[in-house]
């Protein structure tokens, strides 16, 4: 029964590891790393904004890959459909975070809450592509029909993102209004700052994998329960006794407190 992606012990360790990593990132990002020459302390938001953006795109890639694996007949399995769904939800959250953090960073640095810069705009489009995918997932259907629909939608969206990025980037380069929206602001970091940024990416990746497994587990539980409810309802209609629930596996301890 593929109701988890990681073994319980791995998941627990990963959970604590992610927590420690994010805490360390906070220490580095808020205290150890020096303020930037140009942006001063606003730089500290970068240590969250960039890793968030990285995860937003990673999650999207995972959704696309899982969708492709589901669509390919030889690798088709429920696990891929569920990974795609779980990853998409994580992706939406990190995309939203990226946009909000970008805003909070942009206001002190650029003086505006939003800028029509290629990366921000592409991330905004990505957000809406995700939302559409999640809306599609919520529509109740036969599992295979829904999975196929969602998988194709995810791949189409995946193909679209580079096109969006390319076209917006081109458009904004043509209209570049000088150095107000200087995109090089993050190209000059080094030393502790570069380490912190890299560490942030690592910490967020660990967190993403951990949350993906947990979300996948929840998704499996929910979808299995729904499938059983449908079967029971059908059996009731037909007049037969509902099918027996599968025996609860003996090694599925309900975790109290620990991640």
């Amino acid at each position: 029964m593929s109701d988890r992606l990681l073994k319980p012990i791995v998941s627990t360790v990963l959970g604590w590891l992610s927590l420690a990593a994010v805490a360390t990132l906070a220490v580095f990002g808020l205290f150890v790393a020096p303020p930037d020459e140009v942006q001063s302390d606003a730089q500290r938001l970068m240590y969250l904004h960039v890793p968030s953006a990285w995860i937003a795109y990673l999650a999207f890639g995972v959704t696309a890959l899982a969708s492709a694996l589901w669509l390919w007949p030889r690798t088709r399995a429920t696990v891929w459909d569920r990974v795609a769904g779980a990853s998409a939800e994580l992706g939406v959250i990190f995309t939203a975070l990226t946009l909000i953090l970008g805003s909070l960073w942009g206001r002190p640095v650029w003086g505006v809450w939003w800028a029509w810069d290629a990366r921000l705009v592409t991330t905004a489009v990505l957000f809406f592509l995700y939302l559409g995918y999640l809306a599609l997932r919520r529509i109740p259907s036969a599992p295979d029909a829904r999975a196929k629909r969602c998988a194709i939608a995810a791949l189409v969206a995946f193909v679209d993102v580079p096109i969006v990025h390319f076209s917006v980037n081109w458009w904004r380069t043509l209209h570049q209004q000088g150095t107000v929206f200087n995109q090089d602001l993050d190209a000059k970091i080094h030393g502790v700052m570069a380490f912190t940024l890299w560490f942030g990416v690592v910490a967020f990746t660990l967190l993403y994998v951990y949350l993906l497994d947990r979300r996948y587990r929840l998704l499996s539980l929910d979808e299995d329960r729904e499938a059983r409810e449908v079967e029971a309802a059908i059996a009731e209609r037909v007049g037969a006794a509902p099918p027996p629930a599968p025996p609860t596996p003996p090694t599925a301890p309900v975790e109290v407190g620990a991640p």
Binding site: V125, F128, L129, L131, G132, A135, L136, I139, S141, A142, D144, A145, K148, R149, I152, A153, V156, A157, V159, D160, I163, V164, F166, S167, V168, W170, W171
Partner: protein, 224 residues
């Protein structure tokens, strides 16, 4: 039957239905015209602004109209087991896709002619250098029609089809809006040769999404 014959069969069916029901002409076109009018109300009546943003407003209007056109294209397949009919017809997925997309594209092109004429008259722009303009329009229309048909069939059997397709389609065709508007701006107000890169982008989009549509239409129709 050859691919070409199948495509013309399907496109012909859709266009014949349109000729008899006249939904595009009597409902979608007025919708487009009203939207153009509303933009004029929403923006400063000072003609300077409208003239500057005319290409953008034109293409936004076209996109909104395409939502209706796509909705209609699959609305006609909703009753009387029409989709079952398509599945059992023996026609190939790619042919079905190309036929339906071609019909949508044809309807959009007809709409665009009227809407463009309106924009010229009401917003006060001049359409110089028609060639890049026409190519951009053609490529953009094919791109929108293809992507719309793809999402249309994806949502075909769903009760929420009409609210779902816009949310899925519009983000994906954002590059088309971008490219088409920039191409029109270059052709009308700027340096016409600046339009060509955008035309290329629009062409790539059109070809890509037509290919995707041809591959995905059959499998999606099976599940609808």
């Amino acid at each position: 039957m050859s691919l070409w014959r199948e495509v013309t069969l399907v496109a012909g069916k859709d266009l014949r239905i349109e000729a008899r029901s006249r939904v595009t002409v009597q409902q979608i076109l007025p919708f487009g015209l009203i939207v153009l009018l509303l933009f004029a109300f929403a923006l400063d009546p000072d003609r300077g602004i409208l003239r500057r943003v005319a290409p953008g407003l034109f293409w936004v209007t076209v996109l909104l109209a395409s939502l209706l056109a796509v909705s209609r294209a699959f609305g006609i397949e909703a009753d009387n087991g029409a989709r079952d009919g398509l599945r059992l017809s023996g026609l190939d997925g790619p042919a079905l896709f190309l036929g339906k997309a071609a019909a949508v594209a044809a309807e959009l092109l007809a709409l665009e002619v009227v809407l463009a004429a309106t924009v010229v008259v009401v917003y006060g722009i001049h359409l110089n250098t028609l060639f890049p303009l026409l190519l951009a329009t053609l490529a953009a229309t094919v791109g929108v029609a293809a992507t719309g048909t793809l999402y249309g069939v994806l949502a075909a059997g769903l009760r929420v089809r009409e609210t779902l397709v816009p949310v899925l389609l519009l983000p994906v065709v954002a590059p088309v809006l971008l490219g088409a508007t920039r191409a029109w701006e270059a052709a009308i107000d700027g340096v016409p040769s600046d339009a060509w890169p955008w035309v290329a982008l629009l062409a790539v989009f059109a070809v890509l999404f037509t290919a995707i549509g041809m591959l995905a239409f059959g499998p999606l129709l099976e599940e609808s």
